[in-house]
Symmetry: C2
Subunit: 447 residues, 2 copies
Amino acid sequence: MSRITIVGGGLVGSLLAIFLAKRGHKVNVYERRGDPRRTDVYAGRSINLVVSHRGWTALRAAGVEEAVKAITVPVHARMMHDREGNLNRVPYSIDNRAIHSVSRGELNRRLLTEAEKLPNVKVHFDHRCVDVDLQTATCHFQREEGDHVVVEADVVFGSDGAFSAVRSKMMLGRFSYSQEYIEHDYKEVAFPANPDGTPKMDPQCLHIWPRRWFMMMGLANQDGGFTGTLFMPHAATKDSPGFDTVRTEAEVTAFFKAHFADAMPIVPDIVDQYLRNPQSNLVIIRCAPWQVNGKVALIGDAAHAIVPFYGEGMNAGYEDCKVLNDLLDAHGDDNWAEVMHRYASVRKPNGDAIADLSMRNFVEMRDLVADPQFLLRRKIEGHLQARHPDKWLPLYSQVKFTDIAYKDAWEEGLRHDRIMEEVMRLPGIEEKWESAEVEKKALGLLG
Amino acid sequence: MSRITIVGGGLVGSLLAIFLAKRGHKVNVYERRGDPRRTDVYAGRSINLVVSHRGWTALRAAGVEEAVKAITVPVHARMMHDREGNLNRVPYSIDNRAIHSVSRGELNRRLLTEAEKLPNVKVHFDHRCVDVDLQTATCHFQREEGDHVVVEADVVFGSDGAFSAVRSKMMLGRFSYSQEYIEHDYKEVAFPANPDGTPKMDPQCLHIWPRRWFMMMGLANQDGGFTGTLFMPHAATKDSPGFDTVRTEAEVTAFFKAHFADAMPIVPDIVDQYLRNPQSNLVIIRCAPWQVNGKVALIGDAAHAIVPFYGEGMNAGYEDCKVLNDLLDAHGDDNWAEVMHRYASVRKPNGDAIADLSMRNFVEMRDLVADPQFLLRRKIEGHLQARHPDKWLPLYSQVKFTDIAYKDAWEEGLRHDRIMEEVMRLPGIEEKWESAEVEKKALGLLG
């Protein structure tokens, strides 16, 4: 039995607490903010999340799959909205598999309640981490009312998000770190339900308004509404408007009329919301090593903050927890130096891979899904997969519907790219994409 | 006339103060440490520096070339020491050009004195920057005796080094940043002069003991001694010993006997020094943007900390100052938003280039200079340069003996690599390297 401090009681910290407490450890979770079951700490600041296969794998291993399933909405397809309001539904897989939309706040509240059911978990809110001793695993917390709390432990996990306080302490030593802001910022827009509570769009689709350099997306909530998010360059370019050129009421109205006309009747106050809601930015954070001294480790966004375009940020964090749990199974609960070392070595390349994959999916969502050539490629890949499920699994499916390591998926995806580039160059591919010739070509290149 | 705050009174801050004061601005420099003319703030913690052509260009433009020249030692060549103690002298250029070795502390003291000769410069020591308001260019400093000093200004320059406090404030906004520790750490070793004050090795050479994965180097001081620096992986690898495996007196003695036998009689206490002196690490820092709001800008290591293997860190910072001064000439002294924007745009790609060049030169120094093929390539390049000085200027000369932008030098250097790779593959190149055939081949590829 180890005494474990978890800094950060968000999505990953709360699941990690459940994993570790069920192993018999004494777990204390310290969260900077208040209890989200008492105050709405997330109001209007969060993109909706999706749970994918690897998220479920971790939730199941922690014994909380059913508790979470109850608050999710399945999503089976992308629904593309073009400028004229035409819809095009593209399933995520050939076998109707689903990812599951969930509200961040609701999921966090549910997991905290699950964690607190365990007698050896205690969650402390309103504790801001101000220092960590990396040699002794001692943490210092500041409370708003002025108390300074010192907590000794055997090991510390920093699950305190993209701007991790634990990590900032690790940065003072030999620690490689990068933060990279992408050009695009985002704003949320709430899509209301009909007066009778039914949804105004198909709730089992992720709705996308791809506009090449910018885009809007919408994910269903359980109340029949959608959380919409507009992604756009923070500064206009020669190709694209930016948040800095869409500012006045007239500019915003013209902008939505030009690009998102079909959303305006669904969200009558869309212009007001745009003018009122905050503009947030998106950062990619990479660092190494993820642990020091076998005493202090980073997990989730604290180790690998990524952009939200694959919907994998949370799932990657949950997989971190699952892998850690597996390593404790394999190497014992009193062998933290070994377990932390292996955890960091195994997970770091996967954190890098999902960071790259997420940027790639942004290009796909805002641009490629509106490209007939890309849609044809997707159809060919679906056809290959249907005929040879053992040989061809599209990248998206590898990421969202399997536990294949992100790094391996990424490498296989790049290989698919090279093959499909050649396949798409076959003369008359538009007509013969279902032919034996195309199939033979692709499988031949696969080797 | 603007009120200018310079945070950091080191090598770059003190030169920048001179540049800006000579333009008529009111300059206040705030330095965290004490006055280096009163206490030895650098004791045993600094690699010796070299002033290269672009450093001199800046010093001349600031009117302090002569003041600095007096404290430098010219260095014309590399002197390689092999394991058997054999020496091989390789000039830096075909025309006996020199770089100039200088002690960091002495240079800093000299420049501070030059700065303080100007009536509109005031240097404040023992002022630690704790906050910067990026909107108003207001800085907050903490003094050791407890005073908190608030300084208003029109613009702020952060010349406060690799761990810049000004930059840490900029990092809270949309700011891309990376810090990358290289595998190698270093330790200094002091090489004494002879009892009569004469040097024990040729002082006009940079001495290198290249050992492929690790190396020692030595640069002359004015007192006849040398500052030696051992660079070695912080953790041993399958190819190389590391600081973690060379720890006991027996291990250290065996290590120097095996690899640096010829240095042992020159530095009788080399083992003691190794055991006593601190081990330091090396970090590469990149960031963007280098300025915000036309109010606050980074300069020198604060903007681009690099590894020391090209001896260009200080020179790059001095070139920053010179470029800024030129931009003030071109755009006026009351047009800071324009000047800072241009400064950041022009210098950032060059900061990235010299970071890459410096890592490249590390491989060259520790490994390639002991490789006969590499030395032959250098000879061929020197021959080409002698015959066609208008067409072929080796990369090293571009970096150290011209003001060619680092970025352009880097690109030209990569082009030379591709050409020389083909030239070195010519059959019998060892014999015919001075032939017309080789010359024609190289120039033909140059196009």
